[in-house]
């Protein structure tokens, strides 16, 4: 037996004054009576019970000593060894995923789960310790193993459900990785079990219990939603939507689409019972902004009736084209609405400028200018790309299809009159080649990016092909650092974003302009170098800039068919090749020894009072 507060054992010193007080002769109150005749008669009979009186006095002393002893022990907070009490190691897996927001009467499933969790904590017995793990997209240990019920109750009260999907697999991996312990491990799953049974290899001396929350629920929701700009036109986009019907009847679901808060379109879908329906909606045009879909149905889970997406606003990229004359290139630049092109004659050329990208065609400066550049047909010698002869009628025989510069390009059969042969060093990356002779090269350093095309486009039929403006646009966007492809892909719920990752969602494009992130629930996360922004709620996340502006940053969505299926599981949502041992119910002492001791002390106090101090008022 150990004591949490051993200094309270000094309370045993109170024995001495108590015994001393009993040994001291009590000073009696003097009372006048007219005669002792009657008292003598009564007390003569009482002589027979004198020994009993002495015994009662001794009993009073013993009771008081026992009372002090119990109180002292209770104050010292003893704890018994686990072997003695059959103590357990309890892992409480509490589901805080989006489906726990389903309304069950007056309460949500999460509130019911919270009651269950409190009940499990109250049920802890002597020597038990409990670890509290919340399960959503990630499994988080919100409190390590402890025997402090108060600490656990406090933590449970602070928990809130997230809008993320359930990922019990990670939580069960956590259970499997627990270090060995002499006590038996009991794992409680407090969840609606609205997910596919999770495979598990039950660790030894581990038992499981499923504490289900929630009843049957007919739910319809948007289980998938995303937007994608068209490659050919970043201002045009498609919408991908998936609706899931977790009920037993086919449902007709009206869906409203709002862009920038204004109703843009409305649709109706027939979603078969128990199935999902996927649709890609026609093209929309917008200058970017907030896109929200709303399924106008009444059910117990309103969260999945809304879906959110953002379309990044295009950034204007300032480009200067330094050429004596290149109409095809000029035309290609004007087709890209994100590009602000400026034509500069070679005699007006200055080395420094505020343009993001400089394109040289038919002329090149003697020195490579600072900043990002595209050289077409020729380049300065200081670029480090040595020329060696000419290639006659080269062909695009291979190109890196997955490189952003080559995205959506079809370069086969482009007729090229001639190209410059080059000896490309390791600093150059070959984006396209003609039978191992490089045609398009890219040099990237921390300071600048340079793209080199080894042939003059005017001597080819490339400008007449669709691939030409795409190549130019890809090259400019890549060099300018614009990456629309990633900006419209929203981060998943449950993840954490660093300040660096947030920059790519920012329309400002620079880290310096972001000051804080405001979530859909109003939480504000100040951004510093080590800040991590948790994506926990579905909705729009906005950025607060140093210019006191609030811009849309990204959207987060539930977007999970699994969370839309809210019907709870009737059995333990685990599966294994081996039988999964379940927790046996039995009697357990649900309170600590100090409480027992304090209770006994109170009982003794009452007993002593009844025996020695009770007065009957007649």
């Amino acid at each position: 037996m150990t004591f949490a507060q051993p200094w309270f054992l000094l309370g045993f010193a109170l024995f001495a004054p108590i015994i001393l007080l009993y040994l001291l002769k009590q000073r009696r109150r003097r009372m006048e009576v007219s005669t002792l005749m009657f008292w003598d008669k009564i007390l003569r009979d009482e002589q027979t019970v004198t020994s009993l009186t002495r015994l009662k006095k001794l009993l009073s002393l013993l009771l008081q000593l026992l009372f002090v002893a119990l109180l002292t022990l209770a104050a010292a907070r003893p704890s018994l060894s686990g072997k003695l009490t059959g103590a357990r190691r309890i892992v409480l897996l509490l589901d805080i995923s989006a489906s726990m927001l389903v309304q069950e009467g007056a309460q949500t499933r999460f509130e019911l789960a919270r009651h269950q969790a409190h009940g499990a904590v109250r049920g802890m017995s002597i020597g038990d310790s409990l670890m509290l793990v919340t399960v959503a997209a990630e499994a988080d240990i919100v409190h390590p193993f402890t025997d402090s019920k108060k600490a656990l109750h406090d933590v449970i009260d602070t928990l809130h459900p997230t809008h993320g999907a359930t990922e019990f697999k990670k939580a069960l991996q956590l259970v499997e990785q627990l270090p060995a312990d002499p006590r038996e491990t009991h794992v409680y799953l407090i969840t609606d079990g609205a997910f596919e049974p999770v495979p598990i290899n039950p660790p030894p001396r581990t038992r499981f219990a499923y504490l289900p929350v929630g009843g049957k629920s007919d739910n319809i929701g948007i289980s998938g939603f995303s937007v994608r700009p068209l490659p050919s036109s970043p201002r045009d986009f498609q919408i991908h939507i998936e609706l899931t019907n977790d009920s037993e009847v086919e449902r007709r679901v009206p869906v409203e689409l709002r862009i920038g808060g204004r109703l843009a379109d409305a649709f109706e879908f027939n979603v078969p019972a128990g199935q999902s329906l996927t649709r890609t909606l026609r093209q929309f045009s917008a200058q970017g902004g907030e896109i929200e879909a709303f399924a106008d149905v009444k059910d117990n889970f309103p969260l999945d009736n809304h879906a959110y997406a953002t379309l990044p606003r295009p950034r204007a990229i300032r480009v200067r084209l330094v050429t004596p004359e290149n109409l095809f290139l000029q035309s290609a630049l004007t087709t890209d609405e994100d590009v602000e092109a400026e034509l500069v004659k070679p005699d007006k050329y200055t080395e420094t400028s505020d343009h993001a990208v400089s394109i040289f065609s038919g002329w090149h400066p003697p020195k490579t200018p600072p900043g990002d550049s595209i050289f077409i047909g020729d380049w300065p010698d200081d670029l480090g790309l040595k020329k060696r002869g000419e290639l006659s009628k080269p062909l695009f025989s291979e190109w890196q299809h997955d490189h952003p510069v080559n995205r959506h390009l079809a370069l086969q059969n482009v007729a090229i009159e001639k190209a410059l042969g080059v000896e490309a060093g390791p600093a150059f990356q070959r984006l396209a080649s003609s039978f191992n002779e490089p045609l398009v090269l890219l040099r990237e350093t921390p300071e600048q990016k340079t793209l080199v095309v080894t042939f003059d486009t005017t001597t080819t039929d490339l400008p007449l092909r669709v691939a030409f403006p795409i190549l130019i646009a890809n090259a400019i966007h890549y060099l300018a650092g614009s990456d629309n492809v990633e900006r419209w892909v929203n981060p998943p719920l449950g993840g954490l974003l660093t300040a660096g990752e947030l920059v790519k969602y920012s329309s400002a494009g620079t880290n310096a302009t972001l000051r804080a992130v405001i979530g859909p629930d109003g939480t504000r996360t100040v951004l510093d170098a080590r800040a991590l922004v948790p994506v926990t709620h579905a909705g729009f996340y906005r950025a607060e800039t140093s210019a006191d502006e609030t811009n849309i940053l990204f959207a987060a969505n539930l977007s999970s068919a699994r969370e839309c299926r809210t019907a709870p599981s009737a059995t333990l949502p685990l599966r294994s090749q081996q039988p999964i041992p379940e927790i046996k119910q039995g009697f357990r002492l649900g309170f600590e020894p100090w409480a027992v001791l304090a209770f006994l002390a109170a009982g003794l106090l009452v007993t002593e009072w009844v025996l020695f101090h009770r007065r009957v008022i007649e």
Binding site: M31, E32, V33, S34
Partner: protein
Amino acid sequence: MSALSALAAASAPSMDDRDQPVFGDDFLETLEYLQIIARKILSGQMKAERRSRQKGVSVEFADHRPYSPGDDFRFIDWNVFFRTEHLFLKLFEEEEDLYIYLLLDCSGSIDFGKPYKFHYLRRLAAAIGYLGLASLDRIFVIPFSQSLPRSAAQQLAARGKGKVFRLLHFLEGLKATGPTNLSHCMKTFAGSRRKRGLAVVLSDFYDEAAISGLNALRYQKFEVFVIHCLSPQEAQPELLGDLRLHDTETGRFREVTLTEGLLRRYRQTFGDWCTNLEQFCRKREIGYVRCRTDVPFQDIIIHMLRREKFLQ
């Protein structure tokens, strides 16, 4: 307000009157009222003097008894002798003054209580004495504790209403002290008095042999009337816990731990003892009045006159 209630209100004893005078300014007035009430109650029954139960010489025939040698020939009823040929003596009621002996307990046990028991007893004695004096009876006030007073100066003998101040003065001068030996005192008194009469014993009767004392009076042909005086603290003591009891009569101490159970037994014993005394008196036609000192003494006097046929 009736005369009686006004009387009660005017002379109700206070709860702590040990240091107050025994007889206040209005005490005589109270006695006068009592006498008026007594006259109403006894109207038609009193003849200024009461007949004695003693047989003696007077004109009122009482009874016959057989002759025995030595009897006075003058009282032989010759008419009866001629009819029966047996000698019988005529007996006549003896007309004499009524002798009222107020035997007042002045032991230490009387020196107790709130209201003060000794004051209470003396007021009762004064009231009875006043009624007797007003009826031209002979009043004797005999205080006793362990023994009777040895000298005549320590007793009072009075006759006539004019002696009322002497009576009150005598009662005021008494002290309550010493142990009780009621039995011995009664026996001594009964043996020493030639004149029989009404013996009113005012006491708390805290003497195991009290009954034998009363019997001694009876055997000596005294008409006995018992006034049993108790204080509320004796009847219903409110004592609890570890106590050192001090007997005000003997000065003896006794340590006791009083519990509710013990108190219950005390009340039972005390009640039984009072009941036994009362039953003894009732069985032997001894007038008995039990009075608590928290009851106005006038009520007791009226009760005695009405219910107990006192002075009839």
